[in-house]
Structures are given as structure tokens and as C-alpha cells.
């Protein structure tokens, strides 16, 4: 990709590495409930910022603020060097911040190309003779999907016949084509198997390589690490760190994610009360693996880790 890439709506992407979104001490409270606080990170063009956290950590609140569904209540939210406060998703879209939600907003029985252009159809002719420009839409769909690395035989097949990963890709390609500069992906790999997750990660990388800023929300550090340039971790509504990839190894990331200490304590507790339970053993193994203490090569038997 060169420094700039033109999309359908004529949006020009900034040079890779330049900052698009910056948030500083961002917080959001609903009445007296503090859902999010102290979040600081940034999103650069051509880079992937991963937002990691367990269920209830505040990931979806963070997305909602970025996507314009809710306005933030404290901190700074800067887009293109200008401070913003979104009041509707429209505001976010106007600035090229597009969100791909988990349900993907596709209609399973409709052909791929109709889904791609749904709600923004290309038309020819005027008045009552206004009609769809079908060949053009099929051509663009095919080309845009090819640019993302999906080679479809037939864009006329119902989108429901595609695999989960491919559907995700169509949704991403659609957002990109309609002028997204920043792509917010909400748990794109959550419902997928290992192989399909790999496919999606490839498309995330493809979007990054086209010069988009990507915000990749996930609870799986193994998915985040390979594509991420920056990791922001959330726990219980609070940011517990914002690291560039260079400062962090996968093991450290996994450990922070899993809340290593808490998990270990839990495993000890279970071991005491239920000495020989399956659960305790499985948990211990996981702790061992997570903490990197009992390496896979050394010894895999659960007994040897007791007390580690």
C-alpha cells in the first residue's frame, strides 16, 4: 500500500503511523455507576490497537463511546487532533469510524453483493425508472473482497452459505469500502473455531495493511498478539495498562490478561477443599501454563506443580 488509499466515498487515508484517535483518561459513568475510567491509548493509521479484557471489563462501554452510541463523561477524546464528543453513531461514521458488530448486520438469505451494498445501493436512471446497477455492484463487491484476500466464485450466492470468517470479512470489506478509516471490530473471533479465527486475523492484517486504523476487541490474547501493535488491557472498568508490542511478550500479556495471581489463589483454594477434583487439576494446569512456571516440555503431570 502506498501512503494514501482512496475508497468509495473519496476518503483519503492518512499516512501509516500517523495518529487518528487519541483517548486520555477517558471515563464513562451511567448515573452513579462508573462503567469505565482512566483509559488512555491511541489508534494510528495502519496499526492495530487491541483492547483486551474479560467479560464485564468495560470493553463494550469503550466501543460504545468510540462508536458514538454513548458520549464519554470524563477525559479527552481526540480525533484528527480535534477534541470530540459524539452524540450519535452518525457522528462517528462521518469521521470514518465504523463498527463491525458481532452479528455483522448481514441478511443470510440475500446474495453477497446485495448484502455488500444494502442500504447504499448504486442506482442508474431517474424517477420511476431508477434501478440497481447490478453489474457494477457485483464487480465492486468481487474486487473489494479480492483486495481483502477473499476469492469468491460467485457473489450471487446467499451470504449465509459463507463461513463465519468469510462473513466477517465481507462486513469488514463493506465498512472499508464505504469510507472507514478506523475499524472497530467487536470480538470478531469470539464465535469461531481455531482455523476460522486464523482466517479473520488474516483479514484484520489485510485491513491494517491497507492503511486503516483497527481497534480489535477480544478476550483472547493469543488472537490479539500476532496482529496487534498496541495492547490496552481493561479490568473491572479500569485500564490496567497500555503497551506497545515491543514492551511486551505474549506470555506477559497472557499473564496480565488472566489476572495470574487471582487465578492461582483460586486453584489453591479448590485444591484444599476438593483435593482430587478434576476442576482443581484442570485449573492448576492452566495456572501453570499461564504463569509460565511449569513449561510444557518439563512435566505435564498435575501433581508436580502442587505448591508452585
Amino acid at each position: 500500500m502506498s501512503t494514501t488509499t482512496a475508497t468509495a466515498s473519496g476518503v483519503t487515508l492518512p499516512a501509516p503511523g500517523s495518529s487518528i484517535i487519541e483517548v486520555e483518561d477517558l471515563g464513562k459513568s451511567y448515573g452513579s455507576v462508573i462503567a469505565l475510567r482512566g483509559v488512555t491509548t491511541h489508534v494510528n493509521a495502519g496499526e492495530v490497537t487491541c483492547v483486551l479484557g474479560d467479560n464485564g471489563a468495560g470493553k463494550s462501554t469503550f466501543i460504545k463511546v468510540l462508536a458514538g452510541a454513548h458520549a464519554h463523561s470524563e477525559g479527552r477524546f481526540v480525533v484528527d487532533g480535534e477534541e470530540r464528543k459524539f452524540s450519535s453513531p452518525r457522528d462517528a461514521l462521518a469521521l470514518g469510524i465504523a463498527t463491525v458488530y458481532q452479528d455483522l448486520a448481514v441478511v443470510p438469505l440475500m446474495p453477497v453483493w446485495r448484502n455488500f451494498f444494502l442500504g447504499a445501493e448504486i442506482r442508474r436512471g431517474f424517477g420511476p425508472f431508477s434501478r440497481l446497477d447490478i453489474p457494477e455492484m457485483k464487480r465492486i463487491t468481487k474486487a473489494e473482497l479480492a483486495a481483502m484476500g477473499i476469492d469468491l466464485r460467485d457473489v450471487d450466492q446467499p451470504i449465509g452459505t459463507l463461513s463465519g470468517g468469510e462473513r466477517q470479512c465481507v462486513a469488514i470489506a463493506r465498512a472499508v469500502y464505504f469510507g472507514a478509516r478506523v475499524l472497530i471490530l467487536d470480538e470478531p473471533t469470539a464465535a469461531l473455531g481455531v482455523r476460522q479465527s486464523g482466517v479473520v486475523l488474516k483479514y484484520v492484517a489485510a485491513a491494517r495493511d491497507r492503511g486503516l486504523g483497527v481497534i480489535f476487541i477480544t478476550h483472547n490474547p493469543h488472537h490479539a498478539y500476532p496482529v496487534g501493535d498496541r495492547f490496552m488491557l481493561l479490568r473491572r472498568g479500569k485500564s490496567i495498562g497500555n503497551f506497545p508490542k515491543g514492551e511486551m511478550t505474549l506470555d506477559e500479556l497472557v499473564q496480565m490478561m488472566a489476572g495470574g495471581a487471582e487465578l492461582e489463589a483460586l486453584s489453591h483454594e479448590l485444591a484444599r477443599t476438593l483435593p482430587d477434583s478434576e476442576v482443581a487439576r484442570a485449573l492448576e494446569e492452566e495456572v501453570a501454563e499461564t504463569m509460565g512456571t511449569g513449561t510444557q516440555a518439563d512435566d505435564a503431570s498435575p501433581g508436580s506443580h502442587r505448591g508452585s
Partner: protein, 366 residues
Amino acid sequence: MSTTAARPPVAAPEGTDERLGRHARLAAVLRRPAVGALVAAIVIFLYFSFTTTAFALPSGASTWVFTSSSFAIMAVAVALLMIGGEFDLSAGAMTGFTGLITGILMTHYHWNVWLSVVASLVAALAVGFLNGVLVMKTGLPSFIVTLGTFFVLRGVDLAVVKQIIHQVSVVNFQEAPGYDAGAQVFGSYVKIDLGWLPWVHVDSTKYLTVYAATFWAIAVVLVASWVLQRTHAGNWIFAVGGAQQSARQVGVPVFRTKVRLFMTTAAAGWLVGMLNLFKTTTAQSTTGVGQEFVYIICAVVGGCLLTGGYGSAVGAALGALIYGMVGQGIVYAGWDSDWLYAFLGVMLLGAVLVNNWVKTRAEQMR
């Protein structure tokens, strides 16, 4: 597909569309929603043609061509609505409702024909609008809302009409100002000489009478197919029926699309009301009552999914053709005409099973 995407280019064939062979195109044709109905229509036509003498004769065919045509208009409109994910149980009563309004305005108040015709169209559109707004605003199933409208219309048809003209049917409006022009548009017919057909031996049977309803039906099918397949409005109809939430998320105006569909169905009811009025020159309070399910059956037989998001206008028209042919064929064959209902039930169940199978196939096709 994921295999081609994941593997190195060695596995991916060159070019793109070359992978779609002749076989795939044939399969695509067979997957179209209307194909099953077309096959069934041909089989039924051949069956009655060979087992009865009158069915295939031009004079005998005139009856079922007319019935099929007026049912096709309604079935196509109801099919559009069903593709959009909704039902309209007031569609049948609407044909009687509009006929009565026009009839009473012409005979009792001596309005001009065109004025009366337009007045009933406005009334129909208002009811359709109300149906749509009620369904969308309350979030209730359209089955319930339009069931309510159906009973209201049925009650109004009887009570108000009795109040105004002291009887339940309107007759003798040939004297109304401008009646002839109205009859020309809605009630006229042409006779086509089909004496050259090899099985026509008696001169008196060689004319096929084609009523205005048939031309209207053809126009409705063409326009509906055009809208569904070639316009953005059609795209939105499939979308609101297939996945309403998704459609809303990508910016499809769901409310507007559905309200318009209800209004279209009401307008079709008006058209059929006018066609019946000017052909039979009577309007009765009970006209159309009970036919709302026939329209739905025609649409389903034509390949529409009951769950929405899938179907075609041509299919619905073919469903209506099957209904018309069987209804008349049973009479010509000398059976008890009540067998028609048993047949309808079997057709409906069969069609739903076939449709579900086709849908599953369509979603699994790679």
C-alpha cells in the same frame, strides 16, 4: 470457499467465473423460488386437459383464466408483504370493502364513477397505512393486528352498509355518471379466436374470453418483479423480511418499507375490488371474506417463505394459477367442489416442506 482462501494459490483456479460451470447455472435456475410452482402448474394443466373435455377448450379456460388473474393480483401483493416478513389478514375483506364504498358512492350519493373509484382507493390506502403503523409502532405480530382490521372491516361492511342503503349488497349502478368508462377499464373483455387449436372441434367453444383482470394481473406481476429484483426498494423488502435488525443497522428505512408494503397490499385489494365490481356489477358485504388465507397459500405455493426474506412475484402468480385451475378443474371433472379445500391444505403443507428444504439447500450450497 474457506479452503481456497486459506490455501496457497496452487489450489485456487485461475480466473474467477470459470469455476461456475453449466451445472452450477442449471442448479441456480432450479433453486429459484418459482420453479416448483411452475412444474406443479404444468402437471395440473395437463391432468385436467386430458381427464376433462372442457378444461383446455378456449371457452372453458376463460373461467379459470379470470379467477386466476384476480387471485394473482392479490397473491403477488401478499407475496411482497410476506417477503417483507409480514402478513395481512385484512386483504380479503379489503376487496369487498372497496367495492362497497365505490358502489354506494355511485348509487346512493350519485358520485361520478372516477371520483368513487378514487375515494375507495384513498380509503384502502388509509387502512393499509394504519395496518403498517400499528404493526410497526406496537411491535405486535402483523397476524394479530390485521386480524383485528379484518373483523373491523367485516363489521363495517355489514353494519354501515345496512345503515345507509338498508341492504347488504349494492346493485344496479349502470346509470351512475361515467359508468361506461369505468367498465371499460375494469370490467371489459376481449374475445380471442383460438379455433386453430387442434382440439377445438365445435365452433361455439373457440373463443377465449380475456377480462381486463388478466391484463392488470400481468402488469402487476411485471411491475412487482421489476421492483423486487431491480430496484433498491426490492432490496430493502428482502432485507426487512430476512433480518430486520441487520437491515436497520445498515441504514435501511424499515418503518417506511413495511408501511408501504401494507399500503401496496391494500391497494391491490382495491384493484381486485374494482375488477369484481365492474365485472359482476354487484358489490356484496361478504365479498372476499375468507380469501385472505387463499392469497397466503398462493404465495407459499409460489415459493415464499412464511418466515420472510425469500420468494418471488412470478411464483405467487403461478400459485394463483394453480388455485384457479384446480378450482375450475374440479368442477369440470364433476367432483364435489369442496374437495378444493382439502387440496389447498395438502398443497400448502407440501409447499411449506419443499420451501424449507430449498431454503436449507440454498444456505448450505457452496
